[in-house]
């Protein structure tokens, strides 16, 4: 796959794809004889995985480390697992915070709803 196709498929700019590769957020992509990137299936999976994780707010640093560990082979399986567990913990924490904020928003919106109803009644009273 060309970089243009990958860019299109995952809605990331070519610059972003090159940037991710440069900083080690995805493994190095092989080039053809003329030096142009040729993304394999696996490269694509990495791109998709990273995009998903970044989208959920996982820190770039942690993901770079994960990729680096992955490239070091099977001895790092335990470490990688621990890393993911830690990130999961933090993700859950963020989600809990967001849940609280959501409830607060719900309450606020309901309060506004009450206010709106009240105002409408007042207006009616004036009209009558």
């Amino acid at each position: 796959m060309t970089i243009a196709e990958v860019s299109e498929k995952y809605d990331l700019t070519q610059d972003t794809l090159r940037y991710y590769e440069r900083i080690g957020l995805i493994p190095h992509v092989n080039r053809n004889k003329s030096g142009i990137r040729d993304y394999t299936e696996e490269d694509c999976k990495w791109v998709e995985f990273i995009k998903c994780m970044r989208n959920a707010g996982l820190p770039i640093e942690a993901l770079i480390e994960y990729v680096a560990l992955f490239q070091q082979g099977d001895e790092t399986i335990g470490t990688r697992k621990e890393l993911l567990i830690e990130q999961r913990k933090q993700l859950i924490k963020r989600m809990e915070d967001m849940q609280k904020t959501l409830e607060r928003l719900n309450y606020k919106i309901e309060s506004y709803e009450q206010l709106v109803v009240k105002k409408e009644k007042e207006l009616k009273r004036v009209e009558e």
Copy 2:
């Protein structure tokens, strides 16, 4: 309340508090005769509210608009409600995305667990 107390209470630097006020993320705080900020109860509530919303990822832009609407008085109640509803919608979307990522992480961690178990068995076999 002094800025130092508010800073301490909500774990935001004085610089951040001043910055939030400057860009309109919280309403203007009154100063005493000598020009020093004196936060009222209401100011504090704003600080806490904004911190909570920012923490959940609500965009600064939307919050600035909310504060501005608030300061324009009762005619903006409807608009404010709509704004909150829109932000709630986006918050829910983010949470759903994160939920999917969480499930994916769970699956990945489980897979790693399987792998670890397998590797241990292999090692045992070698030892025997």
